[in-house]
Symmetry: C2
Subunit: 245 residues, 2 copies
């Protein structure tokens, strides 16, 4: 069954509009009588039947409301240094499938990829679209937000003060991620800082430790690429709190 | 320091030949006096200095022999249904970084990608090269083998009889991967069966349960793409046995 982010709803019906509507009529060519599922990021999901299609919206009669237990209970955010090629897209797609709560692209000192102004906005819009598609692929009901590209100083404002910050760091030999998570609370958000290809500078790591109270952790003895580190740490955190597997 | 798979060694020196030699002289343009590291898949690693370069080999004097604790102690194999696009390459690359012991490409009923004969051999050679590069990137000292493309009936021959088989399966709701791993032994190999884009057929799953004694497991409530499932299950198994994080 095809899944759509709904535009609005009443007690009996939900309405599909805009890009989602375009996708329904032009790409999928669905018609009156077809079954569809709708969600609105509240955690609920509705099974419906297309009742009518006019020139810019589809009205779907609700057959069933559900609260699928598909979302992770722990809110885990990926905060990733701008990386080249398709890496951001890859992490956003798979991070969404896996259950991340949100994604914050971060400007860092060693980042090769530079994004400002209009180009930055366009890139973020594209990344949000990827998250949106991955939500449907994975049958999630809440779409993670991809924020505008942040600088280090923005991070304290973007996530709440009780956020527990992790910084997987190549040079960290003492603290395993598993042990550090034992000291974390599942009810508070967790944010994972991932460096770009060149890694974080020592100044960035100590800045994160100071201002964000970030715990630097080791992901094990093998060197991981930035995108592998992002997914690995996300998977390990979600698994630790029972949200995966 | 650049890392090379060595051709041969004596007590005092190791020799770099063939593709590795080409890479050393033509690509990296290293010279007499440069420091290099060598490994030979035995688990050892040697730090050396290039002593001489002739037309087809480089002799490197050994300064130090090490046994870096970089390899995973648990042998975990990924057995992946042939998938389209770059998915096999991604999984092989990142699986190697993460620490997998080997990779077996598998022909399955729903696989869209078909590979036979000469083309299959060429693809496997390419995949092995990707593993080889990822070994160097991650500073591993043992290169995982990518076997020739297997059919279901080959699997019992390729891995030893004590291998513990896992089959992450979308329709599995009862068994969590974590619980199943509690019943596994770290000393015996673990092999993870990953379906192609269309998944495994029910007949393939029951065949694996019967012939390989595979445990079908759930990776959680969200639907994962084939390549995400491959890495997720690998990460979860390695983490469970302390080989990651």
């Amino acid at each position: 069954m095809h899944r759509f982010k709904i535009g609005s709803k009443t007690a009996d019906a939900f309405i599909i509009r805009d890009d989602e509507f375009y996708h329904l009529v032009k790409v999928l060519r669905l018609r009156q009588g077809d079954q569809v599922a709708g969600f609105d990021n509240s955690g609920a999901q509705w099974q419906g039947i297309i009742e009518s299609i006019d020139k810019d919206s589809a009205v779907c009669r609700i057959m069933k409301e559900e609260f699928p237990g598909v979302e992770a209970k722990t809110a885990v955010y990926l905060v990733m240094g701008l990386a080249k090629g398709e890496k951001m897209e890859w992490v956003i797609q798979k991070g969404t499938e896996l259950g991340m709560a949100g994604f914050i692209p971060l400007r860092t000192q060693r980042a090769v990829l530079q994004l400002e102004g209009k180009k930055a906005g366009e890139k973020v819009a594209r990344w949000q679209k990827i998250a949106s598609e991955a939500v449907k692929q994975s049958r999630r009901v809440v779409e993670p937000e991809v924020t505008q590209i942040a600088d280090w100083g923005d991070l304290e404002r973007i996530l709440p003060p009780e956020t527990q910050w992790l910084i997987p760091y190549e040079d960290e030999t003492n603290n395993s991620l598993s042990n550090t998570l034992d000291g974390f609370k599942a009810e508070y958000p967790i944010a994972i800082l991932i460096g770009p290809e060149g890694g974080f500078t020592p100044a960035e790591v100590s800045g994160a430790r100071e201002r964000l109270k970030a715990s630097s952790v080791s992901l094990g003895p093998r060197i991981l690429r930035t995108e592998t580190a992002a997914l690995t740490s996300l998977i390990m955190v979600l698994t630790h709190f029972g949200d995966l597997g």
